[in-house]
C-alpha cells in the first residue's frame, strides 16, 4: 500500500517535472526562432577580421636580420615574386653535395667527347664558368650578359635564403613568445659576441644547442649543452670547439638583451648555434 502511494507520488512529481521541462524547451525554441538571422530586421554588416600582431618595440632592432618581417611584407605582395624564374638554377647549384666531390662525379660539368681520348677541349657553352672577378672587371657584351646572369643568381640566392630563414622562423611564430624585435635584439647581441672558429669544416653537421636558464635581468644562471655527450666522444673535436665558442659567446654577452616583461615566457631559452652559412663564405 505504502509502495503504491509512493509510486503515485513519484508519478505526479515526474509529470510535474516533464511539464516544467517542456515549458522551458518551448521557451528556448521560441527565443531561438525569434533571434534567427532571417528574422532580424537588418543584417549586421560585419567588417572583415584584421589580424594584428602586437610587436613590442625594444631599444634596438636589426633590420637586415628580420626575415619574419620581410616574409610578412612579401606575403602581402605578390607570391609570384618569390617563385622567380631565376630560382631553379641557383637551387641546382646549392644542391651540390657539400662534401668534396670526386673528379669522377664531374660528368655533369664537363662533357667529354670520348672516354679514353685525352682531349676534352670541346666544352659545352652552357657549362662554362666565368670567374667572379672577370664578371666585375670586363665590359664587353658577353660580360654584360654574364653580369645579368650573376644578378639573376644573386636574386635567386636571396630568395632562397629568405625562404630558408622564414621557414625556420615560422616555427618560432607558433611556438615562441618572443616578438620580432625581441628576437632580433637578442640575435644581434649574440652575433657580436660569437667569434666563429674559422677552422671548422662547413660540410659537417655542426649544430650546438644550448639551453639557458636566465634571471629577469638577462644574467645566465645556468647554461647546458643539450648534446653534451657528443663533446667528449672521440672524433668530435670540431663539435667541442664550436660548443666552447658558443658558451664563450653567451658568457661574454651576458646580461642578455631579454624583454623587460614576460619573464615566465623566456626564463628558459634555447639557442641553436649553426656556423655553416658563415663558414661556407
Amino acid at each position: 500500500m505504502k509502495l503504491n502511494n509512493l509510486l503515485q507520488k513519484d508519478d505526479r512529481l515526474m509529470i510535474k517535472n516533464i511539464a516544467i521541462s517542456s515549458a522551458l524547451h518551448i521557451f528556448l525554441v521560441v527565443i531561438t526562432a525569434l533571434t534567427f538571422p532571417f528574422i532580424a530586421k537588418k543584417p549586421i554588416d560585419l567588417p572583415p577580421l584584421i589580424s594584428i600582431e602586437l610587436i613590442q618595440i625594444t631599444d634596438k632592432t636589426n633590420i637586415p636580420f628580420a626575415p619574419k618581417a620581410k616574409k610578412i611584407i612579401e606575403k602581402v605582395k605578390e607570391k609570384e615574386k618569390l617563385v622567380s624564374e631565376q630560382a631553379p638554377p641557383k637551387q641546382v647549384k646549392k644542391e651540390k653535395p657539400d662534401a668534396i666531390p670526386l673528379p669522377d662525379q664531374n660528368q655533369e660539368i664537363v662533357k667529354k667527347p670520348e672516354k679514353d681520348v685525352q682531349n676534352p677541349e670541346k666544352i659545352d657553352d652552357e657549362v662554362k664558368q666565368v670567374s667572379e672577378f672577370e664578371k666585375d672587371e670586363l665590359f664587353d657584351p658577353n660580360n654584360i650578359a654574364a653580369l645579368i646572369d650573376k644578378s639573376k643568381e644573386e636574386l635567386a640566392e636571396t630568395t632562397n635564403k629568405n625562404d630558408k630563414i622564414t621557414q625556420s622562423n615560422q616555427k618560432n611564430i607558433t611556438t615562441s613568445a618572443l616578438t620580432l624585435s625581441e628576437e632580433d635584439a637578442l640575435k644581434a647581441q649574440i652575433f657580436g659576441c660569437w667569434s666563429i672558429p674559422l677552422g671548422l669544416p662547413y660540410n659537417e653537421n655542426l649544430l650546438v644547442r644550448i639551453k639557458l636558464s636566465l634571471k629577469p635581468d638577462g644574467t645566465v644562471i645556468n647554461s647546458e649543452i643539450l648534446d653534451h655527450a657528443r663533446m667528449n666522444k672521440p672524433g668530435q673535436g670540431f663539435y667541442k670547439v664550436l660548443a666552447e665558442s658558443a658558451l664563450r659567446a653567451v658568457r661574454l654577452c651576458q646580461p642578455l638583451r631579454v624583454p623587460t616583461t614576460g619573464y615566465e615566457r623566456w626564463k628558459d631559452l634555447q639557442l641553436n648555434f649553426d656556423a655553416r652559412e658563415m663558414l661556407k663564405g
Partner: protein
C-alpha cells in the same frame, strides 16, 4: 560520489587552458670573424734557471722570448689578436699558478696562455697552460722537454697546440719552408736552395749557387727534397737528402725533366718530361726506379700534383688551345678539364685537406693566386699583382705561400722577389721575411708529427 568528484576535476583539468610556455628557440646563424682576443703572458722563468739560460743562450729572459714566438705566430694567422703586454694586470710568476680571471676578462681577453720555463737535467723544460678566461677554467696543460737551443721550436709547438684547441684544425707553425734564395742583378742571379722556419728564422743554405735551382718540394717526411737543376746543360729533376747532403739525378731521360713533386706516400716522384716540343707527365718509383707514362697527348702537360689520397692528379695542359687545369685518375684515365674562366691557369696544387686546388692565373697582364673546388666550381681569386706565382699550401690547408716579383725600372733596377702568404679568406696577406730575395717556396708538413 567520490568518483563523480574525480570526473569533474578531470574534466576541469582538460577544459581550463594551461598557462605554461614551450621552450623558446633562437637560431644563431651568424657570428663575427674578428680575431679572438688572447693574452700571451710571458712564461715565468724559474729563479734557479735564470743564470743557466743567460749563460747558455745569451738570453736575458727566455720566457719572454718563447712567448714572443707564440704571440707572433698567433698574430700572423689572422685568427687571433694577442693583447698588448702593457695592459696585463697580473705578473707571470702568479699568473702561471692561478690566474685571476677577472683581471684578464677586464682587458677583454677570452683566452690566456701562461707557463713556466725550467732548466732541468741540462734540458729546457716548458710547462704551459691554456685558460678559458670567460669560463674560468683550464683548457689544456702540456709540458715539453728539449735541448735549450730548440727554444724557438717549443714556441712553435705551443702555438700549434693552442691553435688546434681553439680553432679545431691542426696548426702549421712547427714547419719549415724551402725556397730558392736569389741574389745579384736580374740578369745574373745567383740562386741557392734555402730552408728556414715558417716565421723566417733559422735560414740554412743547401746548395752553393753554382747551378741554377728551381721548384724545390719536400717529401712527406720532410727529409728529402726534389728540385730542378741543370745536369749536362739540361734541366733535370734532382733528389736531395737534407740530413746527409747527398744528391742525385732522378732517372736518365733523353730530354729535360721538370716540375717534380712527391706522391703523398713519398714513394714516387711525379714530373714532366719534355722532348721535341711535347711534354707529358711521368711517375718514377723511387724504390725500383720504374718509370710510368701517365699522360699521352700531343700537347704540353705539366705541373702535376697528387690529391692527398693519391687517387687523382691535377695538372695543367694546353690541349684545349689555352693553358687550363685538368684532373685525372692517378693512372692517367678519366681526364677532365676543371678550369673554364678567361685567362690562363697554371701551377695547380691540391690542398692537403683535399677540398681545394690552388692555382696561378694570368689574365689581361695580371697574375692572380686563387683557389677552386676540385670539380672546378667556386673559383675564388685571393690576390692580384703584377707578377706572382707558385702557391704552396700550409699543411692544414688554410694558408698559401707564393712569391711575388716587383717591376724593375728602365735601368733594370728595383727588381725584387719576395715570399708572401695569404689565407683562404683573402684578407690576411703577409710578407714572409727572408734574408735575401726569394722565390719558389714549398711548405713542409708538421715537423712534430
Amino acid at each position: 560520489m567520490k568518483k563523480t568528484k574525480l570526473y569533474i576535476f578531470a574534466l576541469l583539468f582538460l577544459i581550463v587552458p594551461k598557462t605554461s610556455f614551450g621552450l623558446i628557440e633562437v637560431d644563431i646563424t651568424r657570428g663575427n670573424l674578428n680575431p679572438l682576443p688572447i693574452a700571451v703572458s710571458p712564461l715565468f722563468v724559474e729563479s734557479k734557471s735564470v743564470k743557466e739560460f743567460q749563460n747558455l743562450l745569451k738570453k736575458k729572459n727566455i720566457g719572454e722570448d718563447i712567448s714572443s714566438v707564440v704571440e707572433n705566430n698567433l698574430k700572423s694567422s689572422g685568427l687571433f689578436n694577442p693583447l698588448k703586454k702593457e695592459a696585463f694586470l697580473q705578473k707571470p710568476d702568479i699568473a702561471h699558478l692561478k690566474p685571476r680571471f677577472e683581471d684578464w676578462s677586464l682587458i677583454k681577453a677570452q683566452a690566456l696562455i701562461t707557463g713556466e720555463v725550467k732548466y732541468e737535467n741540462k734540458k729546457l723544460r716548458v710547462e704551459f697552460r691554456l685558460w678559458d678566461v670567460l669560463a674560468g677554467k683550464e683548457m689544456m696543460a702540456l709540458a715539453f722537454t728539449t735541448v735549450p737551443d730548440n727554444w724557438r721550436r717549443v714556441g712553435h709547438i705551443i702555438t700549434d697546440k693552442v691553435y688546434q684547441r681553439l680553432t679545431g684544425e691542426k696548426g702549421y707553425f712547427d714547419t719549415r719552408i724551402i725556397y730558392v734564395s736569389e741574389e745579384g742583378p736580374k740578369t745574373n742571379r745567383v740562386k741557392k736552395l734555402a730552408i728556414m722556419d715558417q716565421d723566417g728564422f733559422n735560414t740554412k743554405y743547401l746548395t752553393l749557387g753554382n747551378e741554377l735551382v728551381l721548384t724545390p718540394r719536400f717529401n712527406p717526411t720532410n727529409q728529402m727534397v726534389t728540385y730542378l737543376s741543370y745536369f749536362k746543360n739540361l734541366p733535370r729533376v734532382y733528389l736531395l737528402d737534407i740530413e746527409t747532403g747527398v744528391q742525385e739525378v732522378v732517372g736518365d731521360f733523353p730530354g729535360m725533366t721538370f716540375a717534380p713533386r712527391f706522391s703523398p706516400d713519398g714513394k714516387k716522384i711525379i714530373m714532366s718530361f719534355a722532348k721535341d716540343g711535347n711534354s707529358d707527365i711521368y711517375t718514377m718509383d723511387l724504390e725500383n726506379r720504374i718509370v710510368e707514362k701517365i699522360t699521352n697527348h700531343p700537347s704540353i702537360d705539366t705541373s702535376p700534383s697528387f690529391s692527398p689520397d693519391g687517387k687523382y692528379i691535377c695538372f695543367n695542359s694546353d690541349r684545349s688551345g689555352y693553358q687550363q687545369i685538368y684532373v685525372m685518375k692517378s693512372d692517367g684515365s678519366n681526364v677532365k678539364r676543371i678550369s673554364f674562366g678567361k685567362g690562363l691557369y697554371g701551377t695547380p696544387v691540391w690542398s692537403p685537406r683535399g677540398d681545394l686546388i690552388a692555382f696561378t692565373k694570368l689574365h689581361k697582364g695580371k697574375f692572380y693566386i686563387g683557389v677552386m673546388r676540385v670539380d672546378g666550381s667556386g673559383e675564388r681569386l685571393l690576390t692580384e699583382n703584377y707578377y706572382q706565382e707558385a702557391p704552396s699550401w700550409s699543411p692544414n690547408g688554410r694558408v698559401l705561400i707564393f712569391y711575388r716579383e716587383t717591376k724593375s725600372d728602365s735601368e733594370g733596377k728595383g727588381f725584387s722577389a719576395k715570399l708572401w702568404s695569404i689565407d683562404l679568406t683573402g684578407y690576411n696577406e703577409r710578407l714572409v721575411d727572408t734574408k735575401t730575395d726569394a722565390s719558389d717556396p714549398s711548405w713542409s708538413s708538421l715537423l712534430s708529427e
